[in-house]
Structures are given as C-alpha cells and as structure tokens.
C-alpha cells in the first residue's frame, strides 16, 4: 500500500510493478487530489536514465511527454566569490595516466602557470558552454564516452506519465484523503488507513510517500527526525515558472543570492526557477523580491512559500512502514539528489521486500543502506556552502565559518594538502564531482601527486593540448541542444 502520489509515490508504484510483475504481489496507491503534490523537483541525476531504461520506457517519448531537456551538469555562479562560475559536470576531467588521476597532471601544469582552468579538459563542461548536445558513445576509446547526462523535466508530468505506466501494470489507485492511521494493539504495526469518506484501505506493507508530513512514518509511528539544519541552514523556498526567452541550455544553474541561492532549470516549454533561502537571514517578502527581480522571462505564477528542514528520519523503515521521498528526509535541492534518493530507496526495497515474513534483518539492512546514502550526500552539499570566501552578507559569513562535520573537514584537508579525493565504493558523488566543486570553489591542492612528475614537460604539454583539441573538436561537431531536442523529442511526439 503506497500512500501518496507525488514523484515518490508513482516512481515507487512504477518501479515495484515492473520488478514484481509476475510475482503475485498486488500494489495499491492512495492519494488525494485535494492535497496535491509539492510540484517541484525538476532537475535530476544520470541515474534516472537507468531507472527509466529498466522500466523499458522509451526515452524520446518520455522526454516529449515531460517536456524534458538534457542536463549535463550544474553551473554554479557566485559561490566562492562574486563573479566566480564553474560547472559541476556529469563526466570526467581528462584521462588518467599510469594510475595517477588526471587532475594531478593538470595541477602540475597549472602551478607552473602553463594551464588555465581544468574545465577545458571536460567534454560536458565544454558542451554546456557551447549549449550543444550529442549522445554519449559506448566505445571507451571515444572522447564521447567521457560523460553522462540526466534530464530537466516537468515533475507533475513525470508523475502522470509514471501513473499511466503503473496503472497499465495493475497498480490500483484510490482517490481519497487519509485522515487516520490505525495501529494494531499488539506490536503497534500499521493496521489500516481511514479515508475522509469513511472507507478504509489496508496492506501488508505501507510505503509512506506522503511528502514532508510523513503521514505514517512520523505522524502515526513517531519515528523522529535527525535534524541537519545546523550544517544546511536553508529552510524555505519559493518556486516560480517563467517564460523561456533565451536559447535552451543543457544544464541547470544555481546562483548564490544574499541568503541562499536561486535555481534556473530550463524545460522545453518554460523555465523553472526558485529561491532557496534561510529564514534566519531573510524574510519571505524579501526573498520573493529577490527571486522576481532575477527572472529572465515573465513569471507564470506567483509562487508560494515552501517550508522544509534539512535532515532525515531516524529510520526509513519502521515496523511495516517504509518511507520513500520527502517523507524519508530532505537535503535541499542544490545537487538534485532527492529523486536519486527516491530511486535508491526503491532499489533497496525491491531487493529487500519481504515475501512471506518481515524480518529485523531486512529492516536493519534497508536503514543501513539509506543512512549511508544520506550521509554521503550531506557532506557533499555542505562543501558548497562552506568552501567560500564570501562574507558580504550575514548568511554567507555564517556558512563560511560554521562548524562542519569532521568527516568533511577531513576530506577537505586531505584534498588541500595532497590533492587526494576520499573515495568510497558506494558514494553517489564520485571523484570528478568532488574535484569540480573543490576547484570551482577555490579549494586548490598545495601539491600534486609526485608521480605526475614522471612525464616530461614536453610530453605533458603535448598530451594536454591534444586532449583539449580533441574535446573542442568533438564539441564543434555537435548540434545545438535546441536542435537536438527539436529533432529527438519534439512536443508533437507527446
């Protein structure tokens, strides 16, 4: 029994209906049109491609139906200093040589004053700057294999698209507002849900996708929340769509503002905008003013204030209830991680879904996997705020000087001193992501790996210039992002 029909609810319904298509498991979803969904969540990560692929969804059709565009990364403006800009791309920088990561070679040349930005060695960054797009190649020898991509999409259309998919595979949807969640006398498990009109719905396992309110996991089961606002202080957002006035670019933009940051997500038919801010440092009125005065095109709605707090449920799975989506936690939308976390939850759940009996072992493992996901994303997000030189507003001065988790302090120190990026097996953000943000926000290593001296100066210069020209050559041969979209997934296809 899935409670909620936002992105989380319908992704879960679609995912599970596909995985368990022949297993006799029946899936129901209850949602309330009256309450509606949060309606934001438009920028994604490359993992979504694999989710859709696994479901057998046709990409072009999906993109046309959700008015989606391609996303090669996020451009960050004004984060470390006003005037700074860099792209965090979905792809590698250069090519590693003799087991030494490329950025050490770049650093060697950079320190000697012979190389400028590392960006010239990233194909997706160069594609972003040229607003061009082409499909990656599966051939590892091709420079076109060095990147991946995600989508920028209309969240409500995506939910509707998945609803159609799930319903076609037997998922039963019930319209109704849940007003009560009854627990069993013994064990305090979820027994049934009562709807406003008096009907009751019931299931063996309840998947709470009810959004921030956490209808089952929190309101009924009182799981508790781990608050991370100390490190990620932004707690409000205003979202406003606007008319598209300029060329459509294949990336999301995140511009630092006086008490937070503003997103710009280009879709095919409009631009999604929003200002994420910290209520301790600015007012809702001021925030709206900042957002409205920084739109490129005409605003298409007023935008209401969304309140949230960074953190996660103390457990994502309690008794016979699993939380997926905003009900499980939220880490602010800076790196578009929420939909990824929904996906991670679905994958872990599909692997651990109880068949006959529900066991502590399943629950413990699910919670371990999800905790790890949340924690590893958390450090990466904090880095964006903390690695700044800005002290021009109280907000920036606070995040610049705030205490950060030891795990992050350690990672930053290691990078600064040795250029080494702490690597995990299961982290969401890998090497290139950390390098992008470190270098983009002026955390520059004092020294490079001594092994990078193993190449002569002449060879290094030749290697670097070859890489650069290979990348610029590849970019020049690509169509513009707009042309590509028009040809690949025009609105008429929907």
């Amino acid at each position: 029994m899935i409670v909620g029909g936002g992105t989380a609810g319908w992704m879960t319904a679609a995912g599970l209906s596909h995985v368990f298509r022949n297993s006799g498991i029946s899936i129901e979803l209850v949602e309330s049109d009256q309450i509606g969904t949060i309606g934001v969540g438009e920028a994604t990560l490359p993992h979504l491609r694999f989710f859709n692929e696994r479901l057998g969804i046709d990409e072009a059709e999906f993109m046309a139906r959700t008015s989606a565009t391609f996303k090669l990364g996020i451009e960050f403006r004004d984060w470390a200093r006003i005037g700074d800009a860099y792209v965090h791309p979905f792809g590698d920088y250069g090519r590693d040589l003799r087991k030494v990561a490329f950025h050490h070679y770049w650093l060697r040349a950079h320190q000697a004053g012979r190389e400028g930005r590392i960006d010239s060695f990233s194909l997706p960054v160069m594609m972003c700057e040229a607003a061009r797009f082409g499909m990656p190649s599966a051939d590892p020898r091709s420079v076109m294999s060095s990147f991946s991509y995600a989508y920028q999409l209309d969240a409500s259309r995506y939910a509707a698209f998945l609803r159609e998919y799930a319903e076609a595979r037997g998922v039963i949807r019930t319209e109704g507002k849940v007003v009560d969640c009854a627990l069993t006398a013994e064990g305090g498990l979820v027994d049934f849900l009562r709807l406003e009109d008096g009907r009751t719905v019931t299931g063996d396992l309840y998947i709470d996708c009810s959004g921030f309110r956490g209808l089952v996991i929190e309101q009924a089961l009182k799981t508790g929340f781990e608050d991370w606002t100390e490190f990620l202080p932004c707690d409000r957002a205003i979202a406003v769509p606007s008319r598209m006035t300029v060329e459509n670019v294949p990336y999301t933009r995140a511009t630092a503002r006086e008490a937070g940051w503003q997103w710009r997500i280009p879709l095919q038919h409009r631009v999604g905008n929003g200002y994420v801010y910290c209520s301790r440092f600015t007012s809702d009125e001021r925030a709206r003013e900042v957002l409205m005065s920084n739109l490129e095109g005409e605003a298409l709605a007023d935008g209401k204030v969304i309140r949230f707090g960074a953190g996660k449920r103390k457990a994502q799975w309690v008794k016979n209830c699993v939380a997926i989506g905003l009900s499980s936690g939220f880490l602010e939308p800076l790196e578009s991680t929420s939909i990824y976390l929904i996906q991670a939850g679905i994958t872990a759940l599909a692997e651990l879904l109880p068949t006959r009996d529900m066991r502590e072992a399943d629950i413990g493992e699910f919670n371990r996997v999800m905790d790890l996901e949340y924690e590893r994303v958390r450090d990466f997000l904090i880095l964006h705020y903390h690695a700044t030189e800005r002290d021009d507003t109280p907000f920036w001065d606070y995040v610049r000087t705030m205490p950060i988790p030891d795990s992050l302090a350690y990672k930053m120190e290691l990078f600064r001193k040795t250029g080494t990026v702490v690597q995990y097996k299961d982290g969401l953000f890998l090497h290139p992501s950390w390098i992008a943000v470190y270098l983009g926000q002026r955390v520059v290593p004092e020294r490079y790996d001594p092994r990078a001296d193993g190449v002569s100066e002449v060879d290094l210069a030749r290697m670097l210039s070859e890489m650069k020209s290979m990348i610029s050559g590849a970019v020049d041969a690509l169509p513009t992002h707009e042309d590509f979209l028009r040809q690949y997934c025009p609105p008429e296809m929907a």
């Binding site: 022949n22 692997e351 068949t355 493992e365 290691l414 080494t420 020294r447 092994r451 190449v455």
Partner: protein, 476 residues
C-alpha cells in the same frame, strides 16, 4: 638528524618479498621524479615461505612493472592460480572449490544463487557453474577459451610462485628501476624526542642512515616496534597457534588445497617447482608459534607494509593481499614533509578498512567450519556478521568499501561452506521450480562444455616454454 648520517627520501628496510616489491613499484613510479627510492635489505629474511599465492589483482601491478608473465613464471617456477579447494571443513569428506571466477550466467534476473537455492538440491555443485572452478579441479588452464567465437571471456587467475625465486625476481626489478641499494645490517633504530618519529638507523659498521619516509618491510616490524603508538595487537584468527612450512604439495596445478581436521589445517600449494606445504595446528607439537595480528601501519615517518603491518593465517592469498593493499595505497600517498600527517591519517584509514575486509574473508571460513575450533560467528566483525545474516536471511550479498572479494566470490564462499539463504529473491521464486532445475542443468552443461575445451595447465605452460629452467634470465 645527526651529522654524518646519510639521508634518503624513501628508505625501504627489509629483505622480504614485500620489501623488494615495494622497492620495485616505488622506484618505477618515481623514477623520472626528484625522489630517490632506497632499500636497506636487512635483516636478512629468515623465514621466507616456500611458495606464495598471488591474488588476481597482482597481475595489474606486474603489468605496471612491465613484467613478462612467461618470464616470471619460468623464473619463479610458478603456475597460474585459479582457486582453493576446501576439504574437510564440514567435518566430513565434503569439499568445494572457491575460485576467482564468476558463474557463467544466471537463469533469470538476479544472481544465480537464488535460482540454485530455489532448485532445492537439484542444482548440483555450486562450483559447477563457474568455469574457473571447473578448470581448477581438473588442472586445466588457458587465458581464455581456445577457439571461442567472438571476444572470449578472460579467465580470472592469480599465481602460485616459488617464494625465494619471486623475491629474487623482484630484487632484479627493483634494481633495474633504479632503487638504490644501501649495504649494511641494521644494528640500532633510534627515535627522536617523544618517540613518535624515527631519527636514524645505525648499521653494524657504525654508519647511520635516515630518511624522510621509512618503509618497514622487515616482516617483523623492526622499525615500527621502536615507535610509540606503533604497537602490535595480537589478534588471533581462530585457534591455530603453531605452524610449520615445508615443500611438496599434492593436487592439480593451479589449485591450492586447504584440508581441515579437528586439530589442524594443511595447506598445499603446487607449483612447477617443489611446491609448498604449510601445517597449522591448534597446539604446539614442536613447531614455530603462529602470530596473527596487526598494528597501525603508519606512525610518524614510518610505514609498515606486509607482515610488519598485519599477519593473517597462511592460506589463500592472505599475505600477498596484505602486501598489495599496503603498497597500492602507499603509491597514491607518497607525501612531502608538509603533508605527512594527513597522508598517514588517510593511509591508516584506508588500510584499516582493507585489512578488516581481508580478515573478514578468513574469519568467514573459520566461522562456517563444522570443527571444534570453529570461530563463533559473534566474534566476527560487525560487517561480517551483517554479511552472513543478510546472506542467510535472503541471499543478499553485502559488500563494503575496500573489499578484496567480489560479490560472486562471497556468495560462492558462503554457499561452499553450507550457509544457504532461507528466502530468495521473489523474481527467482516466481519461476516454477521445474524450470529453474532445467535451466540450471543447461547452464551446468554449458560451463562444463567450455571447461572441457581448455588444455591441461601443464601442457599449456610447456607449450609456452615456461617449464624450461631459465636461471640467469633478467627482467624484460
């Protein structure tokens, strides 16, 4: 540092396999840089084992060193290693081969073992689905399937080498790549004020040497033992307290055998030379004490690698996996003075995980044995307990950072010792049992058909000219 002390950038101390391996790797890696790698081969290694088993990951390191595989095998009178035969672990005459390979395929979505469990005993031996395991049991080998159409799948293998020859081989490589030899015998190791840093090493002839970074590859922690904070923690893996090594091994080439009894483990490693046999016992019996344990590898300006850092039980690829992890991590973290503290912190963090995972592997074997000395499961690491719990509960293979085994190897290990999932993936469950049984039979036939096309390893080596003695040959 005192006047008259010869100073080095990186000084490796020891005459062990890991000392020369570290010297070769670091010298090769840093040869066009300003850093000099030096080696003081002292104390002369007493207890070099007869043979060493190298894990598959070693092949990559050898490639970095431009080793010619045939040359290496000929010089070290070695063979390709495919896996280990665990005999008698369940207290009866059952056995299973744990190889470095993966099942040929799965009958449906999800891993093979779910379907195998679903077949309820009608799926034959689990190792019958893994080409490497089949080859190992029969003494066959080739790098890939002879005459296979298209791009043939490579075979996953390590090596079994005569240890002394391998040490000599590495020594030549180290010197070839420019490691500077420091002649002499260690007399005294002196620490600086506070005891956290090595100050200098005085040699028997009265000379002294010092280095920015010392690598303790003595096998016994001769340097690390002098440093505060570098203490050794005895941590027995199981109840084996004594051991002896000798030559002579039985079994097919490429397959290590570990025979368990109520009081001992006997490890046979065949090579094309004498091969090696190690006996571990639960009581004295007149042989040398077996010390397992580890220390924090990097303290101050000294890093312990290999047996100086960690000793596990001498079976499988344990000792070389420890050495490989240590050298691999060190290669990425050779610091300047200013970064020593953070580099050592990162090294110790990474090695802590890598060593824990290697220990997990051995502890899992010991915990799943049906022998009086079996390790109680609750004495395993929390990670390993979770791994076993998850596998038993629903066939889920949990892996962690810095894992030495693949998920497929972990599954084969647990199944081999009889730890079976109680529940399986619902997708596998949804397939009618009769279908699972017939698909599995087809897969076994497929794997067996593949395996039969491989030549005997002995013949393969002979055809490659590896069996001819070639003393006096150098590194490629």
């Amino acid at each position: 540092m005192t006047q008259g002390t010869a100073s080095h950038d990186i000084l490796i101390v020891g005459d062990t396999i890991e000392a020369w391996l570290a010297a070769a790797c670091l010298a090769r890696m840093l040869r066009k840089t300003s850093r000099q790698v030096s080696i003081l081969p002292s104390p002369q290694s007493a207890g070099t084992p007869g043979v060493v088993a190298l894990p598959p990951a070693m092949a990559e390191l050898h490639a970095d060193l431009s080793f010619d595989e045939r040359n290496l095998l000929r010089f070290c009178r070695g063979s390709f290693r495919l896996g280990t035969d665990f005999k008698g672990w369940q207290g009866d005459d059952s056995s299973f081969v744990l190889s470095h390979g993966e099942p040929v395929s799965s009958p449906g979505e999800g891993a093979l073992h779910h379907y195998w469990v679903h077949a309820g005993g009608k799926g034959g031996d689990y190792s019958a689905y893994i080409v490497e395991a089949l080859l190992a049991a029969e003494g066959r080998f080739a790098h890939s399937e002879p005459g296979a159409a298209g791009e043939p799948a490579p075979i996953h293998y390590g090596y079994h080498l005569q240890a002394e020859e391998y040490r000599q081989y590495l020594k030549r490589a180290a010197l070839h790549y420019g490691a500077a030899l420091v002649a002499g015998d260690v007399d005294r190791v002196e620490t600086a004020v506070g005891g956290g840093m090595l100050d200098r090493i005085t040699l028997r002839d009265g000379q002294a040497v010092a280095a920015a970074l010392h690598v303790d590859a003595t096998g016994e922690g001769h340097l690390a033992g002098q440093l505060g904070g570098g203490g050794w923690t005895e941590r027995g893996v199981g109840p084996f307290t004594h051991f002896a090594t000798g030559s002579g091994a039985t079994g097919p080439l490429g397959l290590e055998t570990v025979i368990a009894s109520e009081t001992s483990l006997v490890v046979d490693v065949p090579t094309t030379g004498e091969g090696g046999r190690t006996v571990m016992t639960t009581g004295p019996g007149g042989i040398a004490p077996l010390r397992t344990g580890q220390r924090t590898p990097w303290t101050g300006n000294s890093v312990s690698i290999g047996a100086s850092a960690c000793r596990l039980l001498p079976f499988g690829c344990a000792s070389m996996s420890v050495a490989l992890a240590g050298i691999g991590k060190l290669a990425g973290l050779v610091p300047d003075d200013g970064a020593m503290a953070i580099a050592s912190q990162e090294y110790n963090r990474g090695m802590g995980m890598a060593l824990a995972r290697l220990r997990d592997e051995q502890e899992m074997h010991l915990a799943l044995a049906a022998q009086p000395w079996a390790l109680p499961a609750e004495r395993m690491s929390p990670e390993n307990q979770r791994r076993l719990e998850q596998f038993r509960s629903r066939g889920r293979v949990v892996t962690f950072d810095d894992e030495a085994l693949t998920a497929a190897e972990w599954a084969a290990l647990m199944i081999g010792h009889g730890a079976l999932p109680e529940r399986i993936d619902p997708l596998a469950q949804a397939l009618p049992q009769a279908d699972a049984v017939s698909r599995l039979a087809a897969l076994r036939e497929f794997a067996a058909g593949k395996a039969a096309r491989y030549p005997m390893q002995k013949d393969y080596l002979a055809a490659a000219g590896v069996l001819a003695p070639a003393l006096g040959e150098g590194v490629a």
